[in-house]
């Protein structure tokens, strides 16, 4: 009986369709993306290679942010959250599911979404998330972070990688992103955190992204001044 189950599981893993459309869109879309965005990716501190699951936490300043995050973590297949409003037709539902989107109802947050995110993280996948909770277009200031993100990472026992996406100027301008060092949520708020611990951890991640923003602003003004942080760390590694 158990061997039959194992066979079934193995068959499930081999299915081609699961990632075919995702990979196809990613590869074919990469050329126009690279021409259009010409992404500049900076690393604050040491560049880490994370093998297992992790959560990329970024500010949300443009509707093309998921594409920019794809460029940052090019080698990883990414899962992202998509608002329920996008799932209007069967075709769209099929497409978004194939593109590794996890449906979220902003008005009445479903626990199914939470379970799906933690399930993918536990499977060793990468999930990108915008803790501001909404598109913050046109503002240079980041909104306060929602600490539900911390709870997701804590439950799945994965690190959070803060990413600062530089707000776009004109549509044709180059996009930039700064990647921070992974944050171990369990080390930050313990195994049995309270709600206040989670809120504090959310503030901490926000603070880290503010640091990335400052780093980028320094870099933008004078690339030589900001570079030593990254260069010296590279030397150390």
């Amino acid at each position: 009986m158990s061997s039959k189950n194992n066979l079934k599981n193995k068959k499930k893993k081999i299915t081609v369709g699961d990632n075919f459309l995702y990979d196809f869109v990613k590869v074919t879309g990469s050329i126009p993306t690279l021409i259009w965005m010409r992404p500049k990716i900076l690393h604050f501190g040491k560049k880490h290679k994370i093998k297992g699951g992790f959560m990329a936490s970024a500010n949300h300043c443009s509707f093309v942010d998921p594409i920019l995050i794809h460029c940052v973590f090019w080698k990883r297949r990414m899962y992202s959250l998509a608002t329920k409003d996008l799932y209007t037709t069967k075709l769209r539902t099929w497409f978004f599911n194939r593109m590794h989107c996890i449906q979220v109802d902003k008005e009445n947050f479903s626990l199914n979404s939470f379970h799906e995110v933690t399930r993918q993280l536990k499977r060793g996948k990468m999930v990108s998330i915008y803790p501001e909770g909404q598109l913050n277009r046109g503002s240079q200031e980041m909104l306060a972070f929602k600490s539900g993100v911390i709870l997701m990472a804590h439950s799945a026992r994965v690190p959070i990688v803060p990413v600062y996406l530089v707000p776009p100027g004109r549509w044709y301008q180059r996009r930039a992103a700064v990647v921070g060092e992974p944050i171990d949520v369990r080390a930050l708020c313990g195994d049995m955190p309270t709600v206040d611990d989670l809120n504090r951890a959310g503030d901490y991640v926000h603070q880290k992204e503010e640091e990335l923003k400052e780093f980028y602003q320094k870099f933008h003004k004078n690339p030589k001044m900001a570079q030593p942080t990254a260069v010296s760390n590279k030397r150390r590694s």
């Binding site: 109802d105 008005e107 009445n108 947050f109 479903s110 626990l111 199914n112 939470f114 379970h115 929602k146 600490s147 539900g148 709870l151 439950s155 049995m192 309270t194 709600v195 206040d196 989670l198 809120n199």
Partner: protein, 86 residues
Amino acid sequence: MALSRNEIKEKLADIMKMVMRDRLPDLSALREDSHLVNDLGLNSVGVLYIVIAIEEFFGIEFENVGFGDFATIGDVVDYIEQKQQE
């Protein structure tokens, strides 16, 4: 074995103690009509955290429900009871 309504409430009080250690409300006055947000001062993350703790504690999974479906302690107890019967 399914727990009685009062036992579920007691367990819920324990979970709330764990989740809200820093700003614990008066749990002796925990009534079924106590509002999770207005009376107990929980935010959305607090409700989510309690739900996760309930799942682990009672060995059930909250399916096809959202935060908006749980306004009071009574709503949570009702759901746990229903799940236990299933």
